[in-house]
Symmetry: D2
Subunit: 376 residues, 4 copies
Amino acid sequence: MQPIIETVFLRQMASGDRLSLQVYKFIGAKPGKKVYIQSNLHGAEIAGNAVIQQLIDFLLTINDTNLCGEIWLVPVCNPMGVNERSHHFSPGRYCVYEAKDWNRIFWDYEKEADDLVAFTKSQLQLDREVVRLNYLTTIREKFAKILEKINSPSGLPYTEQFAYKLQSMCIDADYLIDLHSSTNQAIDYLYYFRNRQESAKYFLLDYGILLDTYDGDAFDEAFIKPWLALEACFQKLGRNIQFDIEAWTMELGSGMQMHPDSVAKGILGIKNYLFQKGVLQIPEFPQANTSNQQMTFSASSKIMKYYAIAGGMIQSRVKVGSKVNANDRLYQILSFNKESQLPQTIDIFAENDGLVYEISTNQAVNQGELVLRIIQ
Amino acid sequence: MQPIIETVFLRQMASGDRLSLQVYKFIGAKPGKKVYIQSNLHGAEIAGNAVIQQLIDFLLTINDTNLCGEIWLVPVCNPMGVNERSHHFSPGRYCVYEAKDWNRIFWDYEKEADDLVAFTKSQLQLDREVVRLNYLTTIREKFAKILEKINSPSGLPYTEQFAYKLQSMCIDADYLIDLHSSTNQAIDYLYYFRNRQESAKYFLLDYGILLDTYDGDAFDEAFIKPWLALEACFQKLGRNIQFDIEAWTMELGSGMQMHPDSVAKGILGIKNYLFQKGVLQIPEFPQANTSNQQMTFSASSKIMKYYAIAGGMIQSRVKVGSKVNANDRLYQILSFNKESQLPQTIDIFAENDGLVYEISTNQAVNQGELVLRIIQ
Amino acid sequence: MQPIIETVFLRQMASGDRLSLQVYKFIGAKPGKKVYIQSNLHGAEIAGNAVIQQLIDFLLTINDTNLCGEIWLVPVCNPMGVNERSHHFSPGRYCVYEAKDWNRIFWDYEKEADDLVAFTKSQLQLDREVVRLNYLTTIREKFAKILEKINSPSGLPYTEQFAYKLQSMCIDADYLIDLHSSTNQAIDYLYYFRNRQESAKYFLLDYGILLDTYDGDAFDEAFIKPWLALEACFQKLGRNIQFDIEAWTMELGSGMQMHPDSVAKGILGIKNYLFQKGVLQIPEFPQANTSNQQMTFSASSKIMKYYAIAGGMIQSRVKVGSKVNANDRLYQILSFNKESQLPQTIDIFAENDGLVYEISTNQAVNQGELVLRIIQ
Amino acid sequence: MQPIIETVFLRQMASGDRLSLQVYKFIGAKPGKKVYIQSNLHGAEIAGNAVIQQLIDFLLTINDTNLCGEIWLVPVCNPMGVNERSHHFSPGRYCVYEAKDWNRIFWDYEKEADDLVAFTKSQLQLDREVVRLNYLTTIREKFAKILEKINSPSGLPYTEQFAYKLQSMCIDADYLIDLHSSTNQAIDYLYYFRNRQESAKYFLLDYGILLDTYDGDAFDEAFIKPWLALEACFQKLGRNIQFDIEAWTMELGSGMQMHPDSVAKGILGIKNYLFQKGVLQIPEFPQANTSNQQMTFSASSKIMKYYAIAGGMIQSRVKVGSKVNANDRLYQILSFNKESQLPQTIDIFAENDGLVYEISTNQAVNQGELVLRIIQ
């Protein structure tokens, strides 16, 4: 099947050049869920682009009768971040003008839903699907105010315009997948939200991290938090309800790389997820047996970040993916000085047991820079 | 009188070089209030350095009997920001490693004071000065936890270490003055907090903006918000109390400049404030008559920011300091294109009346970049 | 008259977005000289964009019979530089990937013309116009090799591709004008080349600087140096010849600004130049009397740059445009330290007489940064 | 034996903080050659710091009778470059203020030696060591002018001050070793100069590249080129002379890394070189048999750089260290677009046979960015 390909204007630069987004829409023969997948929101996190390209290649080979619902794909979704360079590196994690993390800028309806209890009360007796549509209408009405502001003389800063453009494509999605990787060097894993652990296994990855603490305004959070809030509100009011709305961030390996293993895991997991969810309906599809899928789950509240306690060079560090015990040596700092002393080697030991799931690519550190992350 | 000059270690860099802070402490013969003044927290905002230097020069000429209490001065308080360059410019508003605004990183006790109501109840019958000391002790105990974390193997990111160093010098101050300027081009004005309007006049500036909305974790906010919260809590419990604790941010003109007029206003205002507050006790001091001082007050909630609605070049813009009416033309965008069209000129009109108190230095704009700010 | 407007592909970014150049070609009814004018090669130097827009507006009002030859206009000629930001500033003087000055990257045929003497000998008896065409053919044949390299699998770095695109539009021009300004703050002046002093006056500016020393590979240099070399070679061989080929760099005021005065001087000077050169043929054109035009000429070899001899803040600096005498005080450095000393004020005196024609916008300096420039 | 450790003031920053160099001087009991070794001139090239630290550790274990001459060690020799960050990366290859490559700034006496023929003629009959001392005196006299300029009111830009500081420590050295690595990912290899191929083998590396083409003003070049020029001048005048003066740049693996293998090769090679040169005189030293040492030599003129011919993502690239033949596929570009087309995959083939000795770390490329380097 062939996609509809739409090019969406994003930003006019000072030079008059224009940046755009491009969305590949595969529309199935039967109506169904809307899946939204994007990649490269952070400039250095490119692995997802290969995943999307392979997904396009795959979808081109199936018939529209094999697709129930629709799949929207947005590779290289952040031109400002993707194209930025500092020397030969890709530092595009942040908007350099506003110093905002490109993944902490999104509009979260939950923060504006002052009347959530009233809304929920009004929906208590209604069918889940009706509630979903009513809530979605409410979200969209509020969301439309942003466009009014964008079109006013005072406008909005670019990060808010950009967030609007991306969110306008997915605000009515059912399943949202944001393809990231580490800026540094990391294992492959999945971020998921509460009560979505069963679906998490469909991605066939070894590790999953529950987002139980929030930085705020990330793409996946902004999408699902209003629905989690609504579910919680129903629960308080005595009705158990869970919407079939899911948001995922896949972390596929290391920054500035499209490591073939990580890409392969990404494409395998997504295809299986779409199959399990009934979006892909292909009789001969090689079904992964996720009942036996071993996945280790933890939570973002159990992440420990290690920052360099002195300036210097990192050596003898444990490998990414290692399991460590409290008091194991994690790394050494080779610390120079300008006080006529010999260089010094400082050993750093683990405070707790855990999995070293990310290490810095850069082995030079100023005091207070990140060396590694451990999850308990 | 001579100051005590202390050099405080701040950060060891990867190269082994070290950055430091230097504090000039003028200690009066009589005990009294502690005043803390710093400058250049944002790298481009240098005007306050000249103010502090002139204040040092002035204090060197008086006797310690003319000083009641003590004045701590910390110029160039952010070496990472002050020394940063991008081409010939000073972009040091943000930590480039963490992409955090150097003035949105500070530790705010209010956010951790879970038991404020209990504390307030326990202090309801006590003398104001006793309450102040008890509360300060509480704050300091919590603050001390940060040092424990800094000294642990996992450490803390540099922004938190830096915030700790600055706040450890002023957490027990009575009056705190943070000397800023615009990154862009702006008038001279003062940010103040609720119930401190009378003291605001002592600074002899034409404009004051009440901080009734917060970005969060700014230096002045982090200092005073716990006290404002305590005052509010007392009020709810039926006791009217106001602590003689004040925080100010002076905005002294334009970025990358030490404009003599702005510097002169800064030094004049601070000296008068210190005199009015009884910190400076000099019989022959030329007392400004602030009873007649005309100061226009507004609030941060009344700030309108205008962002470029198209990429291009800004021309025919109203001057900084202008008063405008709704529907006045504010500026034009000369907008180029790459679509084989002639360049276009777009007029932008004011949505409301107000004072144009800041304009961008850069007249080239990508879509969504700041052009000017108006306060109603 | 209406221009032909052509959009020229420049660069595909990693995101798939494309940057372009746009050239406005005003073609006169009569054949004649080709004039090429561009602006904003350095990202912060935007004043020329307004000049080009006003020139377009002007040319739209005349008839093609008033134009002899053709005028090509390329505003915002360097999208990579124009659109770059560091915080709110425009640091786009350099390619950040290759760390090359965008105006030191151009292809200079003189460096490759190994057989210039042989060529000149072969042309000794020919008519000047025939020589011009023969030499231009020789230059173009060599220039065409760059395109072959661009189209090879190994390609070329972007700076060389970009240089090729700009130079391919102007390599056959007769008159070339590159519109710059200071990154910092400067007077309006003109760079010119040897034996073109008379034409320089047509620009009606107060100051002209002869480029008698070269940084190498600047846009104006790369255009005219092969012709200057040919003239010199003819002279050595005993024939005096001067081609009516001219290159100019107009410096129009300060960076990140389109100061109306500088823009007005730019447009006035260019129009008068085009009129004097016979490109504009308008009977009622208000002819400037350049016979009385007072223009002060100097040479780039007489430029003295003052670098900060200590880190600190610049104050009490002489104004841009001042004339100074040797031993006059030029500026002060307010120098802080981290060695428990009071701040220090250091006076800097002029080594020679001269005109202060540029001063740094940034009044904060690390040791060795530029403070001002004087031309003797 | 213990070194003398000297701390050398380098630069005062705007904040008043100071950067320094630190040199570890191991002085042997017997006079002899002076060896100068530095590391980390480019900010991301940190591997040499571990080499120097291990060399210090080694030298601490020997006696001063085992050292003939002296060894000066300067790790982290460029604080501005070492400490620079852009997001988590180390882009410190360039001075961001002047946009100069930190290794293309050095003072090269050859460029100023206008009277080299006259000098050589005056030395034709003298002993080699006398010539060396006379020439060194001449170089030093010229070099001293830089200090005069640094101390003048107009000063010098920082890059020239920095170059002066490093060169003042090594201008009289006999052997100079500059420890680099790739910014990207590369094999371990050695840059050497003409007529020094035999000594090159002492470093026990697999590959050596003769610097037969120059970028200009690199640290190793600036040191040795005056001596090569003198040798060439003697040769022209009929006397064969070679000074025992050598300059080397070791390239130790990949950027932002201290890969243990690369560090081990570095320390092994340097120790063997010092032993072979008679600087280390240790009876029991495990002598490498370099007569059998297989080292492949090539020349910098045989380097081919491949730049991305389109923007996109690099995949299926040959591994670093591979040998390729002409027409082998080198890599693919996964190229996205904003013109409503499917993504495209472009194959790039080798133009020549050769060794892929460097590949870009970043697999995202804007058009014209470096993908890999091959040496024939």
